[in-house]
Amino acid sequence: MSTRDVVKKRVSRFKNKGKDLAKLREKRVSECVELRKAQKNESFLKRRNIILSSLPDEEAFSPEQNDTLSFRIEDIIRDVNSNDREAQTRGCQAARKLLSKGNDPPLKEIVDAGLLSQFVSFLSMDDEPTLQFEAAWALTNIASGNSWHTHQVVQHGAVPALINLLASPMLHISEQAVWALGNIAGDGPGYRDILIECKVIPALLACISPDTPVGYLRNLTWTLSNLCRNKMPCPPLSAVQQMLPSLIQLLHLSDKNILSDACWAISYLSDGSNDRIDVVVKTGIVPRLVELMNRKELFILTPALRAIGNIVSGSDLHTQMTIDAGVLNVLPKLLRHPKPTVQKEAAWALSNIAAGPCKQIQQLITCGLLPPLVEVLRNGDFKTQKEAVWAVTNFTSGGTVEQVVSLVQSGALEAIINLLQVKDAKVILIILEAINNMFIAAEKLGETEKLSLLIEELGGLERIEMLQNHENGIVYQAAHDLIEKYFNDGDVEEVQVDSTQTGFEFKAPDVQKKFEF
């Protein structure tokens, strides 16, 4: 056989040359989808590369079962450790394919085979882009394992090399490096911060240009989000401030995956102290977040809503910014969303807005938040109802007398009364607190009797009385005190022990005022 034939044969086996392109693409996409689905079920923060978007079609490789199964570790070891570039490339690629297979890739075996140092050294071979690429891919997939695997990758010095690869003129190589670094950052705050110290952020941001393809940007956004992720500690503030402008840019694009990951990044960044929230809102991103909260795609809505929820858990000023951006127009819709977790998150956000000053509470009323609030109090799933109860209590605590009256008129009192029999003692206590607050408001109007009557009519008295049998002593006490204070039967306020002969022994002190109606 001539050399040419041999080469041809190998190439035809090796690459997709001569194979039908369309078919290959189909195959690739379907395998990709399958593997991504499998990935989704695994809850780690890393992603294994099966297919890379930057690769031109004919160079993309789809794992064909026959080929992968036939690679043996010894062969790979021998090839990778040889001095022959071709052999190294062959070996490295074989390893990559093994590491890319759907079920149970041999991450540990490859690590134990001592191949990592070689792979890392391949990363810096700018004159061997194929080798660089295969090595980066292999390392990506190892780093997508558990913390031990990622540790191995880092220990073998991959980080600086990968960061250098970000600047590669070959887009697919650069993208692969982005991916690998995303996996390492996602391992936890430790490696995240090591990457940041190695100046990964400027290098990443330099990759963003108007010409950057969407697929690349998706990977990049995802990697950035991993750099924003995790608390204890939070990412360094300086790093956050570096990343934010680009994140804002990304948030204004239209690709849904980019939007989703960028929202996740913001949701992580806003999950912190008021200083952290401040940094986020100062970018002016809030209106865009409110917009994204209004999207129908759940994978965009969810992180945007979470981000807004975090922001309104901040200061009154932060909350006001969301209100000014129109959050109150979107919340009613979300309170009625078919997905319970969305309702719950919306109710939580509402409860935090209701914890604000009465000016903001007024805006709640004006923007029609009371009816949907009462709806979820009545019909929501229990976790949502819990959040809604908080909203009611916060409302009664910070609201003016008129606002509390509006709340009662909206049906909220009736609805919370109907929750007084639940198992969760905390919820019961919050409800009783709300009722107490309502009485305080009623006192200012001189209408405690009316409120008592209303509560009675709504069936509240039985329920409150029953609570005295609650196993929780604090609940008992709260219920008892409430009855004693506002529903007292025969309370002797000032017992004139030297009572008169008339029936007026129990004159209520303020009765004189009440002659006009």
Binding site: P303, K383, S397, H470, Y476, G503, F517
Partner: protein, 449 residues
Amino acid sequence: MAKRIADKELTDRNWDQEEEGEEAGTFSVASEDVLKNRAIKKAKRRNTGGESEGGGAFKGFKGFSMAAPSTTPSSSLTAFSGFGGTGSFKGFGGLSNGTGSTPSFSGFPSAAKAGVAFNGPSSAQPGADIAAQQTNGSAPGPSPAPCSRSREYSRQLTALNQSVRDWISKHVNDNPLCDLNPIFRDYERHLASIERQYGAGVEETQQGDASTPSLPAPSLLSSSSSSSSVALFSFSKTSTEDPGQKRSGSAPLPAGVSFNFGQKVDAPALGSLTSKPSVPSFSFSSSSNQSSPFGSAGPSAALSFGGTKTSDAPAADDKDEESEEPPKPEVKEVKEDDAFYSKKCKLFYKKESEFKEKGVGTLHLKRTAEGKTQMIVRADTNLGNILLNILVPSTLPCSRVGKNNVMVVCVPNPPVDDKNPSVAVPLLIRVKTAEDADELHKTLEEKKG
């Protein structure tokens, strides 16, 4: 600040996971032991108008008031409502809105207590405007009545209240300076009587000089209409002017029986009325519409005492299609054997500068094995919670107070203040009559130590 951070971390990996649902469930009840030591408070019921009130009131809800049907305000109403406010209106554990709670607390039948019927529009009352007036949800407004168990009771009460209203309005219009005290005394008496017959009041021994209940009313009334004859009130200085005055302005008053209020008209004498023909009316005027109070059989047409029945069986009468008799609650009282003295009472404890109610129950005195005296007050509920359980030492301060109270000072058990459980606290024991109080006081003095 009341802001709360997220309870659950949300990431791009877990957002899509099915959350485990949480059930609202129902809370667990404390154990018997714990419950026995708890002072369970019964809430005052203001509304006996029934469930139907709920939705309507709530819909028409303004501020905290109920949807007050248009009341018919008149100058008299002011006084009347004021009356409502100043009276000692204690609600008895009445029927509340239809969730069927057992009204286990019968009202404490002290003469000092008078409840005003709260007749909601749902019960068919004669004179709907009266009902409306009484529905007025204003603050001191009419407090809940004792259980308005029967139609008849409601009617009686309505008539009583209407009469009071009219009488007062007339007399106050005529003379704003009049002293209304006697009216209230009479009102109390009438109310107590109605309660006995139609309400779920605790059984009372027949009052003093009443004749046996089976006596037909007219004669009794005539006998009790005493010396002041026409002017039945010791109100005489101002009201004698018009012995013959008719009730006026009482158009909606139901025709029928009128009761005069003399000093000695005691309720049991009135027996019971059948509900059919008429709704009785009470007249405070010295005349009612007869020139003489019940002297003759004249009013007997109105005083239709069908079989006079004793007051023990209020539920037994009034069996017409209309009356709704909710079943009498089965209050199985916890028996205390070997008590040498037992008395129904109401227990109060002093907190800061005022007395707070601990509960209604029965006080028992027992001899212990060591020859000491033990005082137990047990609540009048099926559970029989202990309201008080102490030994009576010889040093126990014990005094006669007011009309019908005895005060003792001791360390209360079960404690009234968990923060200071071993501090001595004045406790007030209120019994039905002055005589009972005397008796209790004497017994305690004799038997203590």
